[in-house]
Amino acid sequence: MKTICFYFQVHQPFRLRTYRFFDMGVDHNYFDEYQNRYLAQRIAERCYFPMNELLLKLINKHGDDFKITFSISGMALEQFQKYVPNLIESFQNLAKTGNVEFLAETYSHSLASIMDKDEFELQVERHSKKIEELFGQKPKVFRNTELIYSDDISESVAKMGFNGMLTEGAKHVLGWRSPNFVYKSATNDNLKILLRNFNLSNDISFRFSNRNWSQWPITAEKYTKWINELPEDAQTVNIFMDYETFGEHQVAETGIFNFFEALPENILKSGDYKFATVSEVFEKFEPVASIHVPWPMSWADEERDITAWRGNELQEDAFEKLYSLKDKIKKIDDPAIKRDWDYLQTSDHFYYMCTKWFSDGEIHKYFNPYGSPYDAYINYMNVLSDFILRVEKAVK
């Protein structure tokens, strides 16, 4: 029996307000309360609530034949607690079925893994604790922000006691090999790796409603057929995507919910595949080989690298300035400073400063509240300038 593994990423950043130079030293409120509340509630209404409900329905219908995996960033959880409290309950109801696994990630949805090992471990620890508190399960598998992975990162993750990790099935890493097997880390034999099948994942997340695509429209039958057409020896199909795909990126009118509702039945009835959580896949299959990733990769853009966050001097400057505060932050107890430190690390802030506008410009624009990467940089640095002043003052 082969497995099919659906994994959904849930994340919302705390977006910054327009922070003027004149606000520095006067006003330390950096976040756009109105916009954050509005977006959290809108996405909850369009995506999280209806999709959670659908998943619950599918679990009730198919029982143990239908399982899924989530990771929810600390930023998203905080926003839900603040703006949409009953959404937490909705996720808890899914957790209670026992058919849903929750993964660990960095609390702030940050890029600490490529910047600072200590901070990285602290954040992962905090996130796991929060997941355990809310959903009653201690994460055993780790997924990094934007599926960023390298040999180096995998080593830290193994040391923290996780038995597996997710990343992208990037062509430049896999070469001729297939993402449809379990792999292991090159630096630690005990850390299993699950790779995203980006073709089948993006068929849903990016291409579902694209009428210019030769395969449009995709139906549950057609998608099931594609899965069954994979090479005979494939062990597991890993479909990873943003949870916001359902109802937000692909709005309800595209038929995305109906598609997903019909999908499990179609797949199960074809006989070869069984739904599994990430941990179940790891239990079932032994790694076929190790993967070597000397430089960080991610699931973003054509390049599948980290240049969307660390590709230009604006991002580098912002990064270096932010993380230069790390040691000082450790000495501070002020909860407001700690909170802003978390929120400012979120990868989205750096994504907005990206200047790669060509191959992936459309996607970048879709997610970007700023008119230009320069505006994003200026606003972030104005906020950071004030934050640095507060930190300096607090350690004095």
């Binding site: 003027r20 130079f21 004149f22 520095m24 030293g25 006067v26 230009n312 001097e313 604006l314 580098e316 400057d317 912002a318 270096e320 300035k321 320069y374 940089y377 200026i378 640095m381 104005n382 950071l384 300038s385 640095i388 002043l389």
Partner: protein, 426 residues
């Protein structure tokens, strides 16, 4: 004495320093007992008429049968203009060819005997067309009004000045607030240059805002030196006292650049100087207030030098925000590559902020209590800023004497000089 003046903008509807200078000058002229009819391409109705009578060119009905105007209809030429070279425009706009053709046919419609033109009075894609039409309107105005002398401000109005002179036979004075060389360096727009030169050659006298500018028009435009006179700009006394109460909430010392972020203003030299100072004193904050086509380049350089946390951007500031910015500043820097005059350091000094200015500016000719450096000499600029920040004796003296100096730069003195020039012509 009655002066027919052609301008392009008038407060409160201004894009740059030209309108402010015209306003100050005409107020000074009133004090010197002169009457001014001030023509603008587009009046909004809320312009101050305390010193002038405003004539809205968009309201003037042109008699198309009037033979003296004919040559203007025939000579109306439409040229594609790269408007980076037009003053006070941040983005690259191009003259729209489609529009040219539409207007061209309109102008030759002989069935119409009277017509009006609606002007935008902006600096944009239709500027060249508006410059030509403005000349047609000017001829009509010259026919309709009584006056003793014609005065035209900057190249945009020179064709209007020439037309008015032809129709009325009165003497023409043209006023150079900025030359094409200031705006564009050596890569000049030859069409604009030709209009500047033509206007100055046709004029009876040329007024420049500084000796710096006078040298440019004599050397580069080839205007006979004996008809070019310098009348330095002045500054209006500060009225907004409340701003001084604005509390500074940051301990850092603040060094400010305020102006358009364009080649002419030299923002990149400010960035390099900032970097040098931060090596020596990390407790300084630099602020670049303004917008313009060099923004991306400047921002990248700031990030490259890893000083984004010490070098902040405010975007374009207006009105009270400008006063607030001055109130927060410890040093003001004007690193202009080529500045015909440069009124902003005077505004800074008026707000008790000591200034560092480039020697390539007209204002450096009238100021004693300012540190003057070559725009390209980043080390000297850094030194000057550092000195003002760290040696209170120096900055205190500059603040105290600088204010007196600025308070003595009165528009009525400038107007008096202008009156002497007029008197020779009438």
């Amino acid at each position: 004495m009655r002066v027919l003046m052609f301008g392009w903008e008038f407060p409160p509807h201004i894009a740059g320093g030209l309108g402010t200078a015209c306003f100050g000058l005409t107020k000074g002229m009133k004090k010197q007992g002169m009457d001014v009819i001030f023509v603008v391409p587009k009046a909004y109705g809320d312009e101050s008429e305390e010193a002038v009578k405003i004539v809205n060119a968009s309201d003037v009905s042109i008699d198309m049968r009037y033979s003296n105007l004919k040559e203007y209809f025939d000579n109306v030429t439409y040229i594609e203009v790269n408007s980076r070279l037009i003053p006070y425009v941040g983005t690259d706009d191009y003259f729209n060819i489609e529009n040219q053709e539409k207007y061209y046919t309109e102008n030759h419609d002989t069935l119409i005997s009277h017509r009006k033109y609606e002007f935008s009075g902006k600096y944009g894609e239709n500027t060249m067309l508006e410059v030509e039409r403005y000349a047609m309107v000017a001829a009509q105005i010259a026919k309709d009004f009584e006056f003793d002398i014609i005065h035209a401000h900057d190249w945009l109005t020179y064709n209007a000045g020439i037309a008015a002179k032809k129709v009325s036979g009165k003497p023409l004075v043209v006023h150079m607030h900025a030359t094409e060389f200031d705006r564009s360096g050596l890569d000049i727009n030859t069409v604009v240059f030709d209009i500047e030169r033509k206007g100055m050659m046709a004029a009876d006298r040329v007024v420049t805002v500084s000796n710096y500018t006078r040298n440019i028009v004599v050397e580069k435009h080839g205007i006979p030196a004996e008809k070019v006179f310098t009348v330095h700009n002045a500054v209006e006394p500060n009225e907004s006292q409340a701003v001084k109460e604005y509390k500074k909430n940051i301990d850092d010392k603040i060094v400010t650049f305020l102006g358009r972020v364009t080649f002419q203003k030299g923002p990149e030299y400010f960035v390099e100087a900032a970097h040098m100072i931060l090596q020596r004193d990390p407790n300084v904050r630099f602020v670049l207030a303004g917008d313009g086509d060099m923004m991306p380049k400047v921002i990248r350089r700031v990030a490259q030098l890893r000083m984004g946390d010490r070098f902040n951007f405010t975007g374009f500031l207006r009105g009270a925000e400008v006063d607030k910015m001055f109130a927060l500043s410890d040093v003001y820097v004007m690193p202009s590559v080529s500045e015909p005059f440069g009124i902003s350091p005077l505004e800074a000094m008026r707000s008790n902020v000591p200034v560092v200015i480039s020697k390539q500016s007209g204002v450096s000719e009238v100021l004693q209590h300012a540190l003057k450096v070559d725009f390209w000499d980043v080390e000297a600029m850094a030194d000057a800023i550092y000195g003002l920040l760290h040696y209170p004796a120096l900055s205190d003296m500059f603040v105290e004497h600088g204010k007196i100096e600025v308070d003595n730069l009165l528009w009525e003195n400038a107007a008096y000089k202008l009156k002497l020039i007029y008197n020779e012509l009438i």
